[in-house]
């Protein structure tokens, strides 16, 4: 069970998640400070450590649209947030999976800030409202990357398999 700490509408862009003016900061370990930098109150809570890891953000459709900047995924992953959205923009979804940010597609999800959610493989249960929302499985080929612990580990394995002398 985890608390909903932020709710957002449709078409939240990567400029919103990680404003372009911080893009000179590239290392995943350095990006979390700028998460939702222009949502000043939420950013302040994140930086003050008031949002426990595993907390949930709930968004509408097309979350992460716009730029391919991977910082938009690493900045949320750094806080170990879980993103439940009605749908995700393609590149953001791919980046999230590659980096190990937990993303869940629940097309009918409804929640308010403060609600208690249980996010499982098949469904998202909102224990505050008592409603259950079906989860759409991630694009099937992505599971291997998740299972490997992210794309870096997955690619490393692929490389090593292609080098049988090792």
């Amino acid at each position: 069970m985890a608390k909903v700490v932020l709710t957002l509408g449709d078409d939240v862009s990567t400029d919103d998640i990680y404003p372009g003016r911080f893009m000179a900061t590239v290392l995943p370990s350095e990006t979390p400070q700028y998460a939702f930098a222009d949502h000043t109150a939420f950013n302040a809570r994140l930086k003050a450590g008031q949002i426990p890891p595993g907390s949930v953000m709930v968004a509408g459709q097309n979350f992460g649209c716009g730029s391919s900047r991977e910082q938009a995924a690493s900045t949320l992953q750094g806080h170990e947030l879980v993103v439940v959205a009605r749908s995700f923009a393609r590149i953001f979804l791919q980046n999230a999976i590659n980096l190990g940010l937990k993303v869940v597609v629940a097309p009918g999800v409804e929640a308010a800030e403060g609600d208690e959610l249980e996010v499982a493989a098949a469904a998202v249960v909102n224990h505050t409202s008592g409603k259950t929302f079906a989860v759409t499985p991630l694009p099937r080929a992505r599971q291997a990357i998740i299972d490997a612990g992210g794309l870096i580990a997955y690619t490393r394995r692929r490389l090593m398999k292609e080098e049988p002398h090792l």
């Binding site: 400029d15 404003p19 372009g20 590239v26 791919q94 590659n98 490389l159």
Partner: protein
Amino acid sequence: MGMTVVQKILARAAGRASVEVGDVVEPAVDLAMSHENAALVINQFFEVYKGAGLEPRVWDPSRIAIIFDHRVPAESSKTANNQKKVREFVAQQGIAKFRDIRGDEGGICHQVLPESGWVRPGRVVVGTDSHTTTHGALGAFGFGIGATEMASVWALGVALNVEVPATIQVLVNGRLAGFVSPKDLVLHLIGRLTAQGANFKAIEYHGDTIRLMSTSGRLVLCNMAVEAGATSGIVPADSETLRYLREETGVRDEIEVVAPDPDAVYGQVVEIDASSLEPQVACPHAVDNVKPVAAVAGTRIDQVVIGSCTNGRLEDLAVAARILRGKKVARGVRVLVFPASWRVYRDAMNGGHLAALSDAGALIMNPGCGCCLGVHQGALGDGEVALSSTNRNFKGRMGNPKAEVYLCSPAVAAASAVTGVITDPRTLLNHQDTKTPRLAVVVTWW
């Protein structure tokens, strides 16, 4: 069953006779492009090799392109250090297609790749930039990926887990009216499809209007396909593609043209009558909040931007110069012009366009992304309004969440620069001017 262009390209690149929508393939990559964010790709690339017991070597240095464009010249020591790190990696790995910060080559990646002849029909182009869709204008399958995914491409030479997308056929017929441009066409399309209407799909452009359109215009259409969420935008290659590659980029070797099968299956067809289109404007803060210019005409503006990977090409500067020649930029309005590349810059200089723009009061900036991404060169003040020929107007996009950005064609931008309010270019010029050839053929003048 027949295949779309995208299906054919992915089938070839994956070494298969055919693919169907939803198939997961690992296409071999023909060209892998990054810009300053190569600094992050490099970091992830070395992470991949940690503990692997292998020497970190990119799979093919001749197929990797790195173009500095987003922050040129560097706006901060942080960026300068990123660029420095990339230069060292380029030298160490022998990466061939590198464009540093110089005045005799380079520019925005999405202009440099096509104008250098590096993008060919039928090829697979990936880029750590969402506007890699641009390269579909030459009949390639271009799509954006993240930095870690690019590190994987550098290591393996294939893009992992590409789902063959369903394709939306956009069928455009009719002649664009004077001062109605490919930008207006694509803004109208995005307004209809919405910002998520093509998510996980490809857009294939067809119809007479497209066939008669220059490569420059097609680049605009494919560039902004991603604003409807598309994985890729593509114009099947034709005689114009061959002309562009032979005459404008000097490509000599064989060019393979990939056409869709006549019985290709499209998930959706969108028809547009180009002759009925008016100039369009995307209003704050969403790219799909599109209205005819008349709906917002008279809106006061503080800054006009002409440039970007969408509209910083010679045709764009030519039309802006034609509108501004002999006129003056309204007092209180700043006009920033960013040619898309140094080649464009020089051609526009030799054609007299830069002089006309400068005489009118516009600032001619160095080629690059400029203020498009809100990092340097032209941030907005609180409450200010920009009218821009770029491609995104998300809140904060030009560096200030308290400012507003409207998107439009270079013609609307130039006309509005004169009046200081959003203006339909057709109302600014006399009847004779509006009879001049449509933008699609302007390029043949030079």
